[in-house]
Amino acid sequence: MDTHAYGRSSSLLREATRVETDKSIRMNKVSYSVGGRQIIRDFDMTLEKGISRTILGVSGVGKTTILKLLLGLLKPDSGKIFLNGQPIAGLRESELTRLRRNIAIVFQGGALFDSMTVGENVGYRLFEEGVLAESAIENIVLEKLSFVGLEKSINLYPAELSGGMKKRVAIARALAADPEYIFFDEPTTGLDPIGVYNIRNLMLKLEEEGKTTLMVTHDLHTAFAVSQQFSFLHDTRLIFDGSREELKTSNLPAIREFFNPSEQSLFSGE
């Protein structure tokens, strides 16, 4: 037997087995740059089902970019991204759509469709798929809006909603197709304390219902309340990957600075 062929077939079998059982979302040594500016470099991350994660870092460090890379909205310069165990490099948009079926995202501003009502926004994916009857979709829309406490807003347009209401409608839209993973991009930014409290409670409810969340945020209270695993991004690189307790006791200067901004950083313009 050709040992090289044996080695190849053995590694292929291991890869195939891993693909069959691997339901996680992974980034492996991913780098991305824009216009010559490096955004992230050799970034590794695994999002296991049932273990929610938060990505922390200062503004502009590339946290939102990571979410978009994971969803295939951006293409990395190098590295591999896996959704449900399948590499997404080179996939056509229609193939990516199939993989994204299990994932939803709540964008920072909600990204509600301005020309559609709240009800049409929430039921958007279901209407597009055209599989369910309109009455069935309407029932699902009402159910999801009830979950976020906005069933009375079904006929309003996004322009008529407050910032907090937009985020809640965006969450309802994300839930409509019953995804396993939900990404949140700065879910509590720009909200008043009551809004923050409502969103945090919704995220906790989602975890109780078996959803796995990946959040990028500066809101440490929400992050610590919701997530079990943390990644910290600093100067294009991942400098920390661990649990809540490990993060709190980390001695890395960038993390200590993030938790306790000093006078020096205040006056140096950082």
């Binding site: 978009k68 969803l71 909205l73 948009e93 229609s94 759509t97 994204r100 079926r101 994932i103 939803a104 995202i105 964008f107 920072q108 501003g109 990204a111 509600l112 469709f113 301005d114 958007y124 994916r125 597009e128 798929e129 055209g130 839209r173």
Partner: protein, 256 residues
Amino acid sequence: MSATLPERTLKMVILQIQEFFALAARSLIRVFSPPFYYREFATQFEKIGFDSLFIISLTGLFTGMVMALQALIQLKPFAATSSVGSMVAVTMIKELGPVLASLMVAGRVGSAITAEIGTMMVTEQVDAMRVEGTDIIKRLVTPRLKAAVLAMPMLAIVTDAVSLVGGYLIAATYNINPLMYYKSLPRFMVFQDLVEGVVKPAVFGFIIAMISCYVGFSTKGGAEGVGTSAKRAVVLSSVLILVTDFFITKIFIAFR
């Protein structure tokens, strides 16, 4: 060795031209496959077609009046004022009707399309559509493309018709009777001229829709970026309409 500024600029222009043609090709392919987004098409046809009727009618009316005025001044010394209708007709139907109607629509509708898509880009609505499983070219571009290509010839015909009425309003002041004006209309025209008067606006509609959508998708930088894109789309569309008009005219003359 790093590229110089002219090299980088040239590369960027070539890349943008390549991306534009790729978007145009993908949009054309999707015209013939479902889902057809009939409601979206109807909305766009109303915005591009019906909502432009007033402005292109105004354009046609005053252009026809000016054409007639200028023609009558030139024709009067030769006692040839009876030909004013034919001069207005051939100029409007072959050239000014399609071009002016298209320039008006490019300014009014093209900028709106770019602003709408540009706003969707900067507020991540386009990303949200992609994540929700929508083919954004089929949803956002193809309905606008179909609406523009179908509506523009109709708008050009309306512009031509109103311009002929405007021309008569001036001709009447020179005692040209309506029957004489009406009979003179086709004097300098052949059937090919009518075809040209319909083909040109269809091509210009394609240009308006595709340029507006392409520039919309390229928008970056918030509200200011949207404004810059809208301006850029109108300028690009207008220049391309004028350049394309020249080449289409040359082709029709070659086959005359």
